[in-house]
Amino acid sequence: MFQVLRLKMKQEGRRIVFSIPGETDYLIQIRSLISTVASEVGLAEEELYKIETAVDEACANVIEHAYEGEEGSKPIQICLEVTPSRLIISVKDYGRTFNPGTINPPDLSKFIKEKRDGGLGLFLLQSLMDEINYTSDPRGYNELTLIKYLKPQ
């Protein structure tokens, strides 16, 4: 069945898209939704958890940085696409653009000295996925694409 779903999604470009309010209240729902859809692809529990976490980090960043904590009106759009070899999840925001540059492992000793309470998200997100890619579209949105390779079945 997973095979069939995967092939169908691929062949005719099928996508599942959610649009969710850009607020931290909804992160718990975003994780459930991702897990619901991704579990159909036949991924193991452990992989699902990684994907949930990566998407959660991406959305938390949108809310905190792209939308700078402004309450409410702007949505986050999440799109899922499956090909026989990849699960592709894109997180689109309509806020501030940034340049992720090269994402290095956090220097924990330094962070602890500086009493930082953040700065771990992008590295975690990158570590949990196989590929990530950030683009900014002149039409006014940014898109972070998260890719997980699927084992051929």
Binding site: L27, D56, G119, G121
Partner: protein, 119 residues
Amino acid sequence: MQKLRISTEVVGPHKDIVKIKVSGFLDAHTVPEMEEVVQSLIEKGLYKMIVDLEELSYISSAGLGVFMSVIGDVRDNRGDIILIRIPPKIFKVFDLLGFTEIFTTLNQEEEAILAFTKE
């Protein structure tokens, strides 16, 4: 369904250790609740903390940030934060970010109490 539950309890032979039991989801939404609990312990001078994560279902980087931001202060005051009973999938996240090298992670509350008592 509540998203995050935190309870604290004083333990150990000298009643100077606080066990913090965390269950549910520790994400960008609930992290302020966790911060508040940890800050109020620090304000009371309680620097010996055992954090029981057995029933934690989810942690994001913001959750880890709470521990990162206070561990310096806590250790400067002859205390520590010992993480116990970390579920495997949550342990992986701690590990990926290097937290398992900086924090003491143990399986049992008794071991953690012993670690504090021996010092």
